[in-house]
């Protein structure tokens, strides 16, 4: 019996294709189309190029964190401290910028440096301290926020909107597209390529899929995990720098608090299994876009914040239920 005899007829091929492009992704694309169409009908400005850019910029920071959250979830880990890391980086970038006599590159360098340090610290605590990733980063959520507040005394720091680099990051455009969106696209593409096309990515999926098997296959799990948390730190720092650029000063808490939940939501909605080994950047980005488009649309329709909460919650559930109905899974026990 050879592999080809079983390769099957045309409809089978289609099923195969769907699995490969991702049933999850197709559903998300469908949901996104519905949201865009709905609000597009209700509001002439919704689908304007202007508003699309607004949505893109609004989701950039969450999007960056969701991208790296995806990586760590695929590894079987989690990082609840991403928001605090971004806040810390924001403050550091602004303070270093100010004390270096308005040197933007130095400010940004310091932020990324601190970010990597914090990320690696997370990784080390988890891997070598044997602390469960959820607990470790929950602790980080509090601790890094505290550090950001301490060094800033809880106040917004510095002012960067007299610097051309920060202005460019926060408001500039390249080829008609805001710089922020470019950064998200760049980071997401790089991570996607890493995950899908390199052996490093394969190993990351392997670690999350079955860590014992990964170890017996010779993968240096510890090194990978620490590196992944380091990567998160670096990207969270970029998010923090953008936060500074966008708001004009280093924000210890505001603008970054709660982003962990948004990032995890996006990753989970995008198809990451929280037990690891499954997921991808495509799904996560679609989820980020969906949530951003939804929020923008609801606000544009002047739905009040309370209704928005109800609507967002319900829509999230409805989207997933429909998705699952399509896949015809049996309803027993907890879904992954």
């Amino acid at each position: 019996m050879t592999s080809t005899t079983l390769a099957g007829s045309a409809p089978r091929r289609v099923t195969l294709l769907v699995t490969r492009v991702g049933g999850q992704n197709l559903s998300l694309i469908g949901a996104l189309a519905v949201v865009l169409a709905l609000f597009g009908l209700l509001n002439d400005n919704y689908l304007s190029w202007n508003n699309v850019q607004v949505i893109g910029q609004a989701v950039t920071i969450t999007g960056l964190l969701a991208v790296v959250q995806t990586v760590v979830i695929i590894c079987g880990g989690l990082d609840i401290s991403v928001g605090s890391q971004a806040g810390l980086a924001s403050v550091v970038s602004a303070m270093a910028f100010t004390s270096a006599g308005s040197n933007a590159l130095l400010g940004m360098g310091a932020a990324v440096g601190v970010g990597v340090l914090v990320g690696v610290l997370n990784g080390v605590v988890i891997v070598y301290g044997r602390v469960n990733a959820t607990i470790a980063t929950l602790a980080g959520l509090a601790a890094y926020k505290g550090v950001a507040q301490l060094i800033s005394n809880g106040r917004a720091q510095g002012y960067v909107l007299n610097d051309s680099v920060f202005i460019f990051l926060g408001r500039g455009k390249i080829a008609g597209l805001p710089v922020m969106i470019w950064i998200l696209v760049l980071v997401a593409t790089a991570v996607h390529v890493l995950l899908k096309y390199t052996d490093i990515g394969r190993n990351i999926y392997a670690i999350g899929g079955n860590d014992t098997a990964a170890r017996l296959a010779g993968i240096r799990i510890n090194k990978y995990l620490v590196a992944v948390y380091g990567l998160i730190g670096a990207v969270a720092a970029v998010a923090g720098i953008l936060l500074t650029a966008r708001t004009g000063s280093g924000q210890p808490v505001s603008g970054s608090e709660g982003l962990e939940l948004k990032a995890i939501t996006a990753a989970a909605l995008g198809g990451c299994a929280l037990r690891g080994g499954k997921g991808g950047i495509g799904g996560t980005l679609l989820a980020v876009a969906l949530l951003g488009a939804l929020e923008n649309g609801l606000t544009g329709q002047n739905i009040n914040a309370f209704w928005q909460n109800v609507a967002q919650g319900s829509l999230l559930v409805v989207a997933v239920v429909i998705q699952q109905r399509r896949s015809g899974e049996r309803a027993v026990g907890l879904p992954a």
Partner: protein, 324 residues
Amino acid sequence: STGRESTGNAGDTGATVSGKISLTYLQKQGDQEYFIGEAAGAKAKAAELGIDLKVVNLGNDANKTVSEVQSAIAQKSNGLIIVVPDPAVGPQVVQTARDAKIALLTSDDQICTTGPDPSACSADSLVPRIGFSGAQMGGEVGKRAAEEFKKSGWNPAETRIISAWKQDVTVCGDRVKAAKEAFGSAAGTGVQNIDVATDNTPTGAQDKIAATVTANAGVKHWVVWGCNDENVQGGVTALQNAGFSADNVIGVGLGAYLACKGWGSGKPSGMKAALFINGSDVGALAVQTMYDRLRNGKDFPKEAFAPTKMVDAATWQASGVKCS
């Protein structure tokens, strides 16, 4: 583009709008009682004037502030009224509004065109504003607390002041600071102060203040103030639970929306007074001011204040405090 095209002073052209006016009111902490009142006042006024008003909750999120300002512009709003979660984001908001040539008015909290700190801002760089002043509110609270304190005849050595607020909310810090200063100058004597870090919720404040009270066992009398009614109410309840009778507690609230509940029950309360600030007045005034500017070309005043009023168990009903 580099993003710096329009740093000049172009912006709002001062032109009037002839068609239907559409406004966006962006508020920090939109799920908090005070701001809910403010939104209600704004909506009522908008309906009365026949204009289109969107209210957006910014939470405490400086980043969302920028997003929502951009979004309002993309949705072709004619004017923005904003209460920023953090004044540091002010210049970015101003810049974005200017780029879009759209009228901008602030309510409650000030923002500065040229830098993050309104208190270090030259008067002509401050964005026109409707509201109360944090320093003034805090001052009223401190003054009233000092009056109550003098009336009580407590021994300062046996008395402590609790200042309860969420320490990373800068406007809270301003109020508390003003209250301390006003109390200091009005009470004549110094009373030791204890800062209590809370999360601005009544239970959070209650737990923290309860811990503080037991840790300071020798104290006989307490003065409590804070960022808002939640903090003071939590503190008064904690003291009550710790066995302090109402006449050993001076709570001065800020908002009156929780203080009123205890007064309504007619029992003696540690909550001696509260500064009633009616958000709905501010909301209505802000919308009216924007309307005048957009419809009639009337310039914004630099600053306009809605009235505040110190109320207590005897006067709250007559002063128009509504208790839900």
